[in-house]
Amino acid sequence: MIPVLLSELRRRRWATAGWSLGISAYIALNLLTYPIVRDQSKALGQVLASLPGSFKTMVSDSTDLLSPAGFMSSKILYLILPMLFTVLAVSLGSTLLAREERSGTLELLLARPLPRRRLLAGKMAAGLAIMAIVTVAASAIAILFSWRVGLELSLLRIMQAIGLSALMGLMFGGLALALSALGRATGRGSAALSAALAVGGYLVVSLEGLADWLRWPAKLLPYHYYQPTEVLLGGYNWLNAWGFFAITVILAAIAMAGFSRRDIGG
């Protein structure tokens, strides 16, 4: 398991560095605009007031976009960061196993005395490690720049919100991995399906406040339980995060069970 983990990390080291750098740069650049927003909040407030309600619900779960929490949520946490984490996690989930199966190198590994579960565990550990590296980099930069620009928010809560965002991404990655672990047929659509669920979920949930009929289906979607502003303000119900975690664990278990018995290749 360890050699699989290390080899996977080695193979993805530049991509991981790229993701860490990219996400950090996005966070840093946005936070650097905070002083401007704060200083011109009156004028910006008038502009915002004239925008349609759907715009606001699309960019944030906060009603006051100019407050520190509203700024953080609308610029970073509500849409862009979870999407980036989701794309990263789904691309990991849909390639960690499937790429080796498609290219045939999986047989090279399975010809060793390595139980399939352990092989998959190594791959999962690699995915988890990469997500953790990028999350830590993003959190560090967010804390550093929030402090630098004087954003009046608890640094711990900023970290928690970023962690929640990564956790939700991880869950979609788990879905992609489970689909590709169940079989090549389901694996083929794993990335598309997971991404569609993530983006579709976001659209439905961000509009639920405007359309009553969306309220009920929205409750079925993960995005409904992703409330970064609440995290920043300290009012988040962390049971929701445990829900994400539990679903991720269940998906991992499904991946294990599916992969350990099925035919490889073809």
């Binding site: 193979r11 045939g104 047989e107 090279l108 590994l109 060793r112 005395p113 390595l114 490889i264």
Partner: protein, 301 residues
């Protein structure tokens, strides 16, 4: 005696396939035996091999390697088996060296010497990324990884594909040495003469069924029971009936007037008779399994 590899009614129907790819194959390979697996494209050779390796599950039947069940004890089996895939797939951006390091981290080598010798014998390119290697050079890496941990059983799917004649010889030597050390070798091939030369026994699979099995007994090739075939041209009329009357001889006349003579047992009477005739040309054709197998390939299923 326990077989090194034993298949008992092994069958496989791929998910969604109408026809079985493997239909009740039974065979047994002894320790130290080299067994060649022949058959037309799509006959089920790779399916059989991949089932043995636990990559795909048998639909029916059982098989064991070194007494271990291929489904239940797959991991234990792999400690003792070396495998080469029909289409060797390696990590494109690793060098041969990195590949061997990775694989031996997953399965420790009994001796580093063995790997070193394999690399030398095959003159393998170890320091260039796999993507830059020719097909034959990739195949060498595939063979090396199968033999490097000195397995007791080797399961090889078309191992000589892409190797040049010199490297094929190196491979034959390697197989012979492994077999001499007690390892069993099960390999598929499309090369009849290779299989005849290297294997002690040959199985022929067609449409998922094992349709023929033949011992190849080189020691007995010249002995009493073996059948030999000659094609003889004569200067003048052929002594057809005289030859026909010899014991243990079958003869037929070709369109050209040449005779095809098959002898079982003693050659002396035939040679004595031919000595009295004006023989223009005599060619010996070992009555090979080859023609027999070619028939198997051609037969309608």
């Amino acid at each position: 005696m326990n077989a090194a590899i034993s298949l008992n009614g092994l069958s496989k129907v791929y998910a969604g396939a109408a026809e079985p790819a493997l239909r009740g194959v039974s065979l047994a390979i002894a320790p130290g035996e080299i067994y060649g697996f022949l058959g037309p494209n799509g006959a089920g050779k790779s399916t059989c091999i991949r089932t043995l390796m636990g990559f795909i599950r048998p639909t029916a039947g059982k098989a064991s390697i070194l007494g271990l069940d291929i489904v239940k004890d797959s991991v234990a089996i792999k400690r003792r088996v070396g495998y080469l895939a029909g289409e060797v797939a390696l990590y494109q951006d690793m060098t041969g060296r990195q590949l061997m390091d990775y694989l031996s981290a997953l399965q420790p080598l009994k001796s580093a010497n063995c790997l070193r010798r394999l690399v030398e014998d095959f003159q393998a390119e170890m320091n260039r990324p796999v993507r830059e290697l020719s097909k034959g050079n990739r195949q060498k890496l595939g063979i090396i990884q199968a033999f490097a941990h000195q397995p007791e059983v080797l399961i090889l799917d078309e191992p000589t594909g892409g190797l040049d004649p010199l490297m094929q010889e190196v491979f034959y030597d390697l197989v012979a040495t492994a077999s001499g050390d007690g390892a069993s070798v099960f390999f598929s091939s499309h090369n009849l003469s290779e299989v005849q030369r290297v294997c002690r026994r040959i199985g022929f699979i067609k449409n998922g069924r094992l349709v023929a099995e033949h011992p190849v007994n080189r020691q007995e090739a010249g002995a009493k029971t073996a059948r030999q075939r000659f094609i003889v041209s004569f200067d003048g009329p052929a002594p057809y009936f005289q030859i026909k009357n010899l014991p243990g001889v079958k003869v037929s006349r070709q369109n050209s007037g040449d005779l095809t003579i098959e002898v079982v047992g003693e050659l002396a009477p035939l040679l004595k008779l031919l000595g009295q005739c004006r023989v223009k040309r005599l060619t010996s054709r070992e009555q090979d399994i080859e023609s027999e197998f070619l028939n198997l390939y051609q037969e309608e299923s």
